[in-house]
C-alpha cells in the first residue's frame, strides 16, 4: 500500500523521539508513585483522596484504575496536547512541512497520518498508565479478583479485561482533544503555542463542566465523559457512557478534522 509507508514513518517519528518516551515515563511514574505512597503509609483513611484509592492496598489492580483517574484530568491531556499541538506546527517549525508536501504527501493525507500518530500516542499513553499500574500493583500488593461498584466480584482475567477496556475508554476520550490540537496546530508555525493552547482548552473545558450555570453546554464539552469509565466497573457494564463518549469524540474528530483540513489545504506554506 502506498500510503502505509508514511503511516509507519509517522509512528516511528513519534515513538523514536526522546520527548515521547520522557512523557510516557512521566505518565508511568504516576501509578508507581501512588503504589509506593500507599505501601509506605499503609493505606489512606477511607473516603479520602481519589476514588478507589482505599482499595489499592487490598488489590494491586486498583493501582491501574487510580492511576487512570489521576492522569485523566491533567497529565494525559498535557502529554496529548504536546503531541497533537506538534503535529503540523512542529513540521512547519522544522521546515519539513514543505518537504513533505512536495514529496508529495497531499495535505489531506498528511493530516490523516499526523492525526493517526497522535491518536496512537493517546492509546499508548493510556496503556502505559494501565500497564505500569497493573505491574507495580502486582509487585507491591498482589492482584486478585476485582470488586465492582455494584458489589459483584469478577475473576482476575475479566478484571484485566475491564482495565483494558478502561484504557481504551481513556484513549478514546483523548481523541477529541487530539483533533482539537491538530486543528490548532495548523494555525501556527510555533509548536509550543499550539501545545499550550490545546492544554489550556482541555483545562478550560473541564472548568466549564463544573459550572452548573452552563449545564446546557455540558453535553457538548469534550471533557464531559472523561471520568465516565467508572461505568465500566459496574455489573453489567453500563455501555451507555462508553457509547456517548465515543460518539461525542467522533463528532469532535470530524468537526476539528474538517476545520484542520480547511485550514491546512488553503494555507500558504511559507515556513
Amino acid at each position: 500500500m502506498p500510503g502505509s509507508a508514511l503511516l509507519v514513518s509517522e509512528l516511528a517519528l513519534v515513538f523514536r523521539r526522546r520527548r515521547t518516551w520522557a512523557m510516557l515515563a512521566a505518565l508511568g511514574a504516576v501509578p508507581v508513585l501512588v503504589a509506593v505512597a500507599v505501601r509506605l503509609t499503609s493505606g489512606p483513611p477511607t473516603g479520602r483522596g481519589p476514588a478507589f484509592l482505599d482499595r489499592v492496598a487490598g488489590n494491586g489492580l486498583f493501582v491501574a484504575i487510580v492511576g487512570m483517574f489521576m492522569c485523566i484530568p491533567l497529565f494525559l491531556p498535557l502529554t496529548v496536547s504536546v503531541v497533537a499541538g506538534d503535529t503540523i506546527a512542529g513540521e512547519a517549525g522544522h521546515g519539513t512541512l514543505r518537504y513533505l508536501l512536495i514529496a508529495p504527501a497531499s495535505r489531506g493525507r498528511l493530516l490523516l497520518v499526523k492525526y493517526f500518530g497522535a491518536a496512537v500516542f493517546c492509546l499508548a499513553a493510556a496503556l502505559v498508565v494501565a500497564l505500569v499500574g497493573v505491574l507495580i500493583g502486582l509487585a507491591l500488593f498482589g492482584v486478585g479478583p476485582v470488586t465492582l461498584l455494584s458489589g459483584d466480584t469478577i475473576p482476575l482475567g475479566e478484571s484485566l479485561g475491564r482495565i483494558g477496556l478502561m484504557a481504551a475508554y481513556v484513549a478514546i476520550s483523548l481523541w477529541g482533544l487530539a483533533a482539537i490540537g491538530l486543528f490548532i496546530s495548523t494555525l501556527t508555525d510555533v509548536p509550543v503555542g499550539a501545545m499550550a493552547a490545546t492544554a489550556v482548552l482541555s483545562v478550560a473545558s473541564q472548568i466549564l463542566g463544573q459550572l452548573p450555570q452552563l449545564d446546557w453546554l455540558h453535553p457538548w464539552l469534550f471533557t464531559q465523559h472523561w471520568f465516565g469509565f467508572a461505568d465500566l466497573l459496574r455489573e453489567p457494564i453500563l455501555w451507555a457512557s462508553f457509547g456517548e463518549n465515543a460518539l461525542l469524540q467522533a463528532g469532535y474528530v470530524l468537526v476539528f478534522g474538517a476545520l484542520a483540513y480547511g485550514r491546512l489545504s488553503t494555507k500558504d506554506v511559507l515556513s
Partner: protein, 335 residues
C-alpha cells in the same frame, strides 16, 4: 509525465502573489525549456522563493497560472510533484533523526516511490553528495554545508524530470560548490531540467543555459545567456593617438550619432592615464548597438583613413554590468 505541447518544463503566465498590500511577485511570465539549466537570478527579496513556492504548490497564486511539466499547478500537484525534486529555501530536517532516516521519511511520503529499493536509492543519493559517512549521524550534529548536501541528496533520491534548487550552493565551501556544479552539469547532461535560483551571478553564469532576472517581484529579463548578454550595448574601444580622425571615421560608419556625441558618457576620448603621457595614445570608445558594422570593416576603414590603430577591442558588458543595469542593484558577488 508527458511534456506539454509548449515543450516547456515550467511556464507561468501573469503570475502574481500578494501578501496583504505587498506585491511579492508581479505578472510573472516564465518559460523554462525542457532540458535547460535555468538560472533564476535576483537579489534577496526579489520574489524568487515566493515564485518557487508557487511552482511547487506550497503557496497559492493570487492570480495567474502555472504549468509544470505540462500540467497545471497546484491542481495537478499530486501527479506533477513525484517528478520534481526540490530544495526550497534551504534544507530542513528533523534534527533528532539521522540524515538517512530523514531521507527515508521524505521518500516514504511520496506515494509513487517504490518501497522496495527505498534504502538503496537513499544510500546512493547520500553517496552522491558525499554524506555516506555521516548518514547515520543525527542531523543536529550536521554543519550547514552538510545539511545543504543532505537537502540536495533528498532531491536526488528518486529520478526526477525537473529539479528545482533554491540557492543550492548556500553554505557550501568552494570545493562543495564545485561538486554541486559538476552534479548539475551531469544531471543536465542526462536530460533533467534544472531550475536554479540564486543571488550569485557567477553561479548562474557558470552553470546555466538560460536565465531570468527578477527585481522587486518583476521579471526584468529572460532568455538564453547569450541573448541576455547581447541585450546590452557593445562598445568599440580604439587605442590611437589620432583620436579625432578616428571619431570622424566612426561617425562616417554611423557609430557616432550626433546627439550622443555631446554626451561625455558614451563616446569620449579618455586620456589613458600613464600610457597617454608616455605614448600620447588616446582611447576612443563608441557604442556598438546593433553589432554592426562588422569589426573587420571598422578596422579597415580606420586604417584606410590613416588612423594609427594601436589597439582595437569590442567590449560586451559582463552579465554583472547587465544585471546591475536591469535591476538597479548590485549583487553579492562573494558571499
Amino acid at each position: 509525465m508527458a511534456p506539454g505541447d509548449t515543450g516547456l518544463a515550467i511556464e507561468t503566465s501573469q503570475l502574481s502573489k500578494s501578501f496583504g498590500t505587498r506585491h511579492a511577485v508581479n505578472n510573472l511570465d516564465l518559460a523554462v525549456p525542457h532540458g535547460s539549466v535555468f538560472g533564476f537570478l535576483g537579489p534577496n527579496g526579489s520574489g524568487k522563493t515566493t515564485t518557487i513556492r508557487m511552482l511547487l504548490g506550497l503557496a497559492t497564486p493570487t492570480s495567474g497560472s502555472i504549468s509544470v511539466l505540462g500540467r497545471p499547478m497546484p491542481a495537478a500537484g499530486q501527479d506533477v510533484l513525484p517528478h520534481v525534486g526540490a530544495l526550497v529555501e534551504g534544507p530542513a530536517f528533523y534534527p533528532f533523526l539521522s540524515g538517512r532516516s530523514n531521507l527515508l521519511r521524505l521518500d516514504a511520503a511520496n506515494p509513487r516511490s517504490a518501497a522496495a529499493d527505498r534504502r538503496r536509492r537513499v544510500d546512493r543519493a547520500l553517496d552522491t553528495v558525499g554524506l555516506g559517512q555521516a548518514a547515520r549521524l543525527a542531523v543536529h550534529a550536521y554543519s550547514l554545508g552538510m545539511k545543504q548536501r543532505l537537502g540536495i541528496a533528498n532531491a536526488l533520491a528518486t529520478d526526477h524530470e525537473l529539479l528545482v534548487l533554491d540557492e543550492p550552493t548556500n553554505g557550501l565551501d568552494p570545493q562543495g560548490t564545485r561538486e554541486v556544479r559538476h552534479l548539475i552539469a551531469s544531471l543536465a547532461g542526462a536530460g533533467t531540467t534544472v531550475f536554479i535560483s540564486s543571488h550569485l551571478l557567477s553561479e548562474i553564469e557558470q552553470m546555466c543555459t538560460h536565465a531570468a532576472v527578477m527585481s522587486n517581484g518583476n521579471r526584468v529579463a529572460q532568455g538564453t545567456l547569450a541573448e541576455l548578454r547581447s541585450g546590452g550595448n557593445g562598445t568599440v574601444v580604439i587605442h590611437t593617438p589620432d583620436a579625432d580622425a578616428a571619431r570622424t571615421v566612426l561617425g562616417g560608419l554611423g557609430l557616432l550619432p550626433g546627439g550622443e556625441a555631446a554626451q561625455g558618457g558614451d563616446t569620449a576620448v579618455v586620456p589613458h592615464g600613464e600610457t597617454g603621457e608616455e605614448g600620447g595614445t588616446g582611447v576612443v570608445q563608441v557604442p556598438w548597438p546593433d553589432d554592426e558594422p562588422a569589426p573587420e570593416s571598422i578596422v579597415a576603414a580606420l586604417v584606410a583613413a590613416g588612423v594609427r590603430v594601436r589597439g582595437f577591442a569590442l567590449e560586451r558588458p559582463s552579465l554583472e554590468d547587465r544585471f546591475v543595469e536591469l535591476t538597479g542593484e548590485g549583487f553579492d558577488v562573494a558571499r
